[in-house]
Assembly symmetry: C2
Amino acid sequence: MKAEALKGHLDALLLATLESGPQHGYAIRDALRVDSGGRFDLPSGTVYPALYRLERAGLIVGRWATVGERRQRRSYELTPAGRRALAEGRSSWREFATAVSAVLQEKQWTAGG
Amino acid sequence: MKAEALKGHLDALLLATLESGPQHGYAIRDALRVDSGGRFDLPSGTVYPALYRLERAGLIVGRWATVGERRQRRSYELTPAGRRALAEGRSSWREFATAVSAVLQEKQWTAGG
DNA sequence: GGCCAATAGGTAGGGTCGCTAGCTAACGCC
DNA sequence: GGCGTTAGCTAGCGACCCTACCTATTGGCC
C-alpha cells in the first residue's frame, strides 16, 4: 500500500473509529489496524498529529484521564460537528471510490454493440 | 470532492485512461472527466506534470505528432512496465478501497448477538 | 480585420499531510 | 533492575496536486 494513498482519507477513518465510543490514541491505532485487516498499521507520528488536527478543527474533544497510579491517557470523543464531518466523509468517500472504480474499470466488454 | 483525495491515485487513473489506446494530454483530461461522471475535472497543471512523471518513470512514452497544418500534440502510450504498473495499481486500489470501506462501515448491527 | 472560445501544451510556487526518526515515561513481568 | 509493551509527543522532510499564469493554433462570428 503506497504511503500517499491515505492522504485526505485519514480523518474520516479516525472519526469512524471514534464513532462507537471514546478512545485514546493508542487504542485508535489498534482498532484501525484490526478493522482494516492489518492494512492500516499507522505509526504514532501519523495518528497523534492527525488527532490534534481534528481537535483543532472542533471535530473531536480530548480529555486527560489517569489510569492505574499515575499513567496519563488522552481520551477522544466525537463532537456533533465531528459526527457531521464523519457523515460527510462517508458520502464523499463513496463518491470518490465510485469515480475511481469507474475509471479503473477495464473496458473489455466488447465496445458497446 | 476534497483535493487531497486524489493523492497517490492519479497515476493509476491516467494509466487506465491510456489502456484503450494512445491519447494526448488534453484528451486524457476529457476522458477522465467523462469516465468519472464529471467528478474528476482536473486542471492541466495537474495532468501534464503527472504525465511527465509517468514518462520519467518509464510507464508511458510520448511522441510528438502534427495535426492539421502546424498544431503540435503529444501522444502518450503505455509501455509494458506501464501495463504492469496499471495492474498493480488496480489491485492496490481494490485493497485500499476494501480497507477504507471496512473501517468506515457503520457498526450499527447491534453488537454481536 | 479583430475578437473570442475551444483546443493543446506548459511552468513556478505553494500548501497539505502523512511519514521517518527520534524522544520521554509508566506499567507488568521475571 | 532490566526488558517489552503501552502511551504520548515532536521536528523536519518529501511527495504531489493545485493555483495561477503563460504561449500558441484553429475556427466561428461580425
